[in-house]
Symmetry: C2
Subunit: 82 residues, 2 copies
């Protein structure tokens, strides 16, 4: 069994209104030195694969097809054996 940790982030060229809202929130709390807040997703999952290569293949395909929007988002992942 392998454990994948996947980060899905908005591309830099895409506006992030949620991040902007959080940034305003930090300033309202008095943390005025916080800048450039960007919000992404963090997905953890297990893959019942026979090899690391197979776990990587499944993680990559699931990220491309389901987790990330290829027009607006990038993803990266790490895999470890459980």
């Amino acid at each position: 069994m392998y454990h994948s940790k996947i980060l899905v982030t908005l591309r830099q060229s895409i506006l992030d209104p949620q991040g902007k809202a959080v940034e305003h929130g930090t300033h309202s709390l008095g943390y005025e030195r916080v800048r450039n807040v960007r919000i992404g997703k963090f997905v953890e999952l297990d893959v019942d694969a026979a090899s690391r290569e197979e776990a990587e293949k499944i993680t990559k395909e699931v990220s491309e097809k389901l987790l990330a929007n290829p027009v607006m988002e990038d993803f990266s992942f790490t895999i470890e054996k459980k």
Copy 2:
């Protein structure tokens, strides 16, 4: 300037219906060996701090007060100098 990467995750004891929905989605796509999907948040931000210690303090406080729900979520972060 420092750059913080913050992971906000649901505690293990908390049900994750969004993760369950994604898990069903992976199975519908034919990836039936995907298990235990958990969805969290990934937040990136810059801190205009004079030292790493100050950047860590601000990141920790913002995470506690704004980004994570202390009843249901945990957080962790890394910081690097920009």
